[in-house]
Structures are given as C-alpha cells and as structure tokens.
C-alpha cells in the first residue's frame, strides 16, 4: 500500500482525540443462551485492540453490539463519552470490515467506497477526490471501475477496508477480515493493515480466532471464552504470562507445572514443583504461601543447562530438529518440560542430565 500523506495527516489529527470505546457490563442473550456475559472493556484512542477466542466465544457478538447490529441486553456502550447503546448502526460512525468482505455486488468498487460518503451527502467533487485518495492508499487505484467479482479475494478485502476508512469512522471494526484468504496473503495483508492503522491512527477492534494474527498486529489482546474476557493485556504479557488455564492452552504450546506456592524470593515468586524450586511471576494477586498453584512456561523461554545440577533437573528424552527451532523434551519429576531451543544451540544428548531454567519474569503462576 502506498502512503497518502494528506489523508494520513488529517485522520491522525482527528483520531488522536477520537475513538475511545468503553464497554461496561455488556451482556447479550441469543436463543436463551447468554453468549456475552458482563464484558468490560476500554480502549485508548488510536489503539489496535483484538478480541481473540475460539468460535462461539462471543467475540463477534460483542463486535456486532459495538457496531449496533445487535442490541445489548444489558450494560452500556460508550464512544468518546457518548452513550450509543441504543443508537441504530447508521447513526454510529463505525467502519466495519466483514469476513465475507460484504461488498455490494451490483456496484463498482468506486461506488462501493463512495456509498458512505453518499449517505453523508458529501458533494460529488469532494466525494470523488476522497474515493480516489483512499483507493490509492489501499493500492487499488485503477480498479475503481471494476465490479467486486472481478477482483481477487485480497483486492476485495482492500476495497472493503477502503470503504470502511473513507468515512473517517470513530472506530474501525474488523470481523475476521483475513480468514477467507490464503496463508501467505493473510500474513501480508494483516501487516499492511497494521501499518495503515498505525499511520492513520483510527482506533481499531479486530475479531479473530487466529492467535498468531492477534499477537502480530495488536497493541492489546482481549482473550475471550464463553462470553467473558479471560485476560486483557499486551501481546507479550498474554503470551508469556497467561492469567488463566484457558489463555495458556489456547495460545501456542505451554508447559504447565503443578506445585505449591512458597512466597516471594529475590528471584521472583517461588514455587515448589516436585522436589525442585522454580520461580515465576504471579498473574494478578500473589497467592498465599502453601496454596496449590500452576506455573506456565512457554517452550521458547526454557533454557537447558548441562553445567548445573540444581533447580529443575531431568533427563533429555527426545530432541528433534524443526528448522527454525530445536525441540527438546526433558523428563523431570514434575512432568515433561518442552524447550524450543534456537537452531544453533548446543543440543544435549538424549539421556543426558540437564537443568531447565527460565527468567521468572517470563513465566506465570496462577492459583489452581
């Protein structure tokens, strides 16, 4: 996508002050089942926030309530301090991009993009100028006269994005926008969208079930399951310090070690697992000493040392070269610990006695 500095400047100025979304106890019941229960959420203006979760977790329902396509059964939705809970969608200013792109099949790309401006009764000349500008911004200049079916999936997605952005919305809402694209294009487009969002600074809510996508583009991620937000934090925190078992298991691979809380030490919060003591950072409030806890450690942060025999000691059971990483499974008294070692690391031999280590700040600990 090529830069269009004019639009970027105008929108960035606006957006710094606009686009603060607040959800307070938002609920939704569909078909007798509560699919969203008391969701609280607040965005910073200009933030890229992702609702991540498996299908049926309530993330799309939440987004549709923000857009106004569904009415909340309880709670308040505010945009920049205005209560929009009961406002119909056409009186909210939200640009939404759908999984199916939802382009109007009987209109050209230019007419699709111009639709929102027409509804706002923008004068023809100004409208044409803005349409041309935004199409250039998403790299679709020259496609203006085509119909949606004449465009590839990626191009359709860009057109849908242009259509949502041209109205300079308070919020940009993206509902699984990349999931109909092939893997390569998905990665490229999400990077483009991320870069574009940072440039124009519109507050953006992305709904996705793809954890890699969420980690790659978001400022913050809200992990949802069964209608509630399990954890809302920056990608790094979500990944390294999962706050619940669901978050830990849903995103990537994790080592979960059960043990007993042993209180703060110089190295962080200590925890007895089997006959060893390991350290981690409590997610939320620190548990009382002696409580049953679980430690979550990502394979990437585990280091294998052959020169020490204290700490979490075990024997190497299996090593496997995976290209970018080497996977190493160590059998310890607390269970198997998987480490993902850099491809150039010294690989321990199978059967060797080793110690598993990690920085306490890279692991999390929750009460069981």
């Amino acid at each position: 996508m090529r830069a269009s500095t004019a639009t970027a400047e105008v929108s960035a100025d606006d957006a710094v002050r606009r686009g603060r979304l607040r959800l307070d106890g938002v609920r939704k019941v569909l078909g007798g089942k509560e699919v969203v229960s008391a969701v609280d959420l607040e965005t910073e203006p200009g933030e890229f926030l992702t609702l991540l979760g498996p299908s049926g977790c309530g993330k799309s329902t939440t987004l549709n309530m923000v857009a106004g396509h569904l009415t909340a059964d309880g709670g308040v939705i505010e945009v920049d301090g205005r209560d929009v809970t009961g406002t119909p969608p056409h009186r909210r200013s939200m640009g939404m991009v759908f999984q199916s792109y939802a382009l109007f099949p009987h209109m050209t790309i230019a007419d699709n993009v111009a639709f929102g401006l027409r509804m706002r009764k923008v004068a023809a000349a100004e409208r044409d100028r803005q349409v041309a500008e935004v199409l250039e911004m998403v790299g679709l200049d020259g496609m203006a006269g085509r119909h949606p079916r004449q465009l590839s999936g990626g191009q359709q997605q860009r057109a849908a994005l242009a259509r949502a952005l041209v109205i300079q919305p308070d919020l940009l809402l993206l509902d699984e926008p990349f999931s109909n694209l092939d893997a390569q294009l998905r990665v490229r487009l999400r990077e483009e969208v991320g870069a574009l969002q940072r440039r124009i600074g519109t507050t953006t809510i992305l709904v996705t079930h793809d954890q890699e996508e969420a980690l790659a583009v978001s400022d913050r991620i809200a992990v949802m399951a069964d209608g509630v937000i399990h954890q809302l934090d920056r990608p790094r925190e979500i990944y390294l310090r999962p706050g619940t078992d669901f978050v830990a298991q849903f995103i990537g691979e994790v080592n979960a070690l059960d043990g007993t809380a042993a209180g703060f030490t110089r190295d962080g919060y200590a925890c007895r697992v089997a006959d060893a003591t390991v350290a981690a950072t409590p997610a939320g409030e620190a548990p009382a000493e002696g409580t049953e806890v679980r430690v979550y450690v990502r394979p990437e942060v585990v280091r294998i040392r052959t020169d020490r025999t204290s700490g979490l000691v075990g024997t190497v059971r299996e090593t496997r070269f995976l290209g970018s990483r080497i996977r190493c499974v160590v059998a310890t008294p607390a269970g198997d610990v998987t480490a993902a070692l850099p491809f150039d690391a010294d690989v321990p031999a199978v059967g060797e006695e080793v110690t598993c280590e990690w920085r306490p700040s890279d692991a999390s600990l929750t009460a069981r």
């Binding site: 569909l30 329902t61 396509h69 569904l70 009415t71």
Partner: protein, 290 residues
C-alpha cells in the same frame, strides 16, 4: 459465527413480527380467500347432495361404479406410462447432457423447457397437426406404403403429448443427481477391473436413483392432474379424472360429484408427493427438486 445469522432476533425495533405479518398480509389474504377457502368449499361440497344435505353418496357413487373405477385406473395407468416413457427417453438424454459443456447444457435445458413456455393450447394443437391425417407422420407412413392408422384421440396420443411436456421435469432432477456423483468413482471402478456397462449398472444408476425418484414423482402427479393436453389430444374417448371433473362441473352441472372426483384426484396426487417427502426425510436424502 453462529451469532451473526441470528441478528434478526434482537435488533432495534421491537415488534418485528408485526412488520413481518404486515408484509405477508397480501399473500395471506390471496391464499386464504382464493386457495384455502375454495379448496375447503370443494371438500365441503363433495359431502353434500345437490340440495345441500350431508352425504357420502358422491364417493360411494365413484368407488361403487366400475366405469368410474376404470377412469381412476386409466388415469393412474396413463400417468405411470408417461413416467416410464419420460425415464426411457430422459435417462439417456440426461447422460448425453452430462457430457456436454456448460454452454451446450444450458441450450439443451432450454430446449427441454421450451414446451413448457409455449401456450398449452398451441402446443397441443401442434400435436393435433403432427399426428393428424394431413400431418407429417401420416405423410411418411403413406410414403412407405402403410395406410396411416388413427393416431389421435387415444391413449397413445395423450402419452406422446404428455411425455413431450413432462420430459423436462424428469431430466432436470436427474441431472442434479448425476452431477452429484463423484466423477472419480467410475474411473476408480474401471481401475478395479469393472467393464463400462457394469460401472453404469452398479454405480451411476444406483447413485442417480434419488433424481429418478424425484422426477418420477413430479411427472406422475402432474400427468395425473393434467387437463388441457389430454382433453385436446384424447378427447372424450380417453377417460381421465381431470376430464370428468371438468364435464361434471360444466356440462352435467353436478357440482358435488365434480367436487368429489376433484378431491379424490387431490388425495391421489398429493398423497403420493407427501409419501415421497416423508421417504426423503426418513432417508435424510437430499431434495433434488421441490
């Protein structure tokens, strides 16, 4: 997302069902007053005497009279023969269509449907000419030295006319079924050593059975209830139920009896379709043609 499809459950305007009812109202009025009410009147009249008293005599008369039982039997016979005729002509034609390009297929479908798009009266009249004493069939027969027999006003004429109209109703669902057959099945069977004929007999034919059944149902019930084509090509000599409904209602003016014959016709044709629908639901089969 499951949630999206449900948007209508909770959008902003509350009394949505009232809007729905309002939109459906014209259709409800039309079908209430011009479909449900007439059919109800018909059923009610069939249980009345000419003077209006309740009676079962109209049905007794129909079922007790060998002549009318013969009419019912003949109706079923002509419908069955039309169905078989459509299958015999339609199956090879569907197979032929399957092998053609989408463009050609579309043209062939249009050709099949063309009889349905031409005025019924004109279509039947055309057959009168084709099969008539001055028509091309008679001309060819004369040319080879055969005295042309009477081709019109008998079951055969009705059969020809009906197959002509009904062929599309057989071929199109059949095509649907044939298209659903995995195209790699036949090569797979060939690879296992089955000869071409066996492949057809053991794979293509059984797998296209749902389409055949759907087509047969439609053709049978539509033929049994056809009036115009049999009336023109068969005349009074070919005894079919719809023709008797018509003559009882307009010539004999015995409305209760006409109503009873009509109702029996409805029971026969829709009963068949309902049975078929139940069969489909139980077998969880796909509806090829509704």
């Amino acid at each position: 997302m499951a949630a999206i499809g449900r948007v209508s459950d909770g959008t902003l305007s509350r009394p949505r069902w009232r809007t729905g009812l309002l939109l459906a109202l014209p259709a409800v009025v039309i079908f209430g007053l011009l479909f449900a009410a007439p059919l109800f009147t018909l059923v009610a009249n069939s249980f009345r005497t000419q003077t209006g008293a309740f009676t079962l005599s109209n049905y007794e008369r129909f079922l007790g009279d060998p002549f009318y039982r013969g009419v019912l039997w003949n109706t079923l016979k002509v419908a069955a023969m039309t169905t078989i005729g459509c299958l015999l002509v339609g199956y090879p034609f569907a197979l032929y269509m399957r092998g053609r390009s989408p463009r050609v297929r579309n043209w062939l479908a249009l050709l099949l449907l063309s009889p349905l798009l031409i005025s019924m009266v004109i279509r039947a009249y055309g057959w009168l000419v084709v099969l008539g004493p001055n028509g091309p069939v008679a001309a060819v027969l004369k040319w080879v030295g055969i005295t042309p027999p009477q081709l019109l006003y008998n079951d055969t004429a009705v059969l020809i006319g009906m197959i002509h109209v009904m062929l599309a109703y057989m071929v199109l669902p059949l095509m649907g079924s044939l298209d659903r057959i995995d195209p790699t099945l036949v090569p797979a069977a060939r690879g296992l050593g089955a000869p071409g004929w066996t492949c057809f007999w053991r794979i293509t034919l059984p797998l296209s059975a749902p389409g055949m059944l759907a087509g047969a149902m439609i053709v049978f019930s539509l033929t049994a209830s056809s009036f115009v084509t049999p009336a023109i090509l068969g005349g009074p000599k070919v005894k079919l139920m719809p023709y008797f409904v018509y003559t009882q209602a307009t010539t004999t003016l015995d409305w209760p009896y006409a109503a009873a014959i009509g109702f029996i016709l409805v029971v026969v044709t829709t009963g068949l379709l309902l049975g078929y629908a139940r069969l489909l639901r139980r077998n969880n089969g796909d509806v090829v043609f509704q």
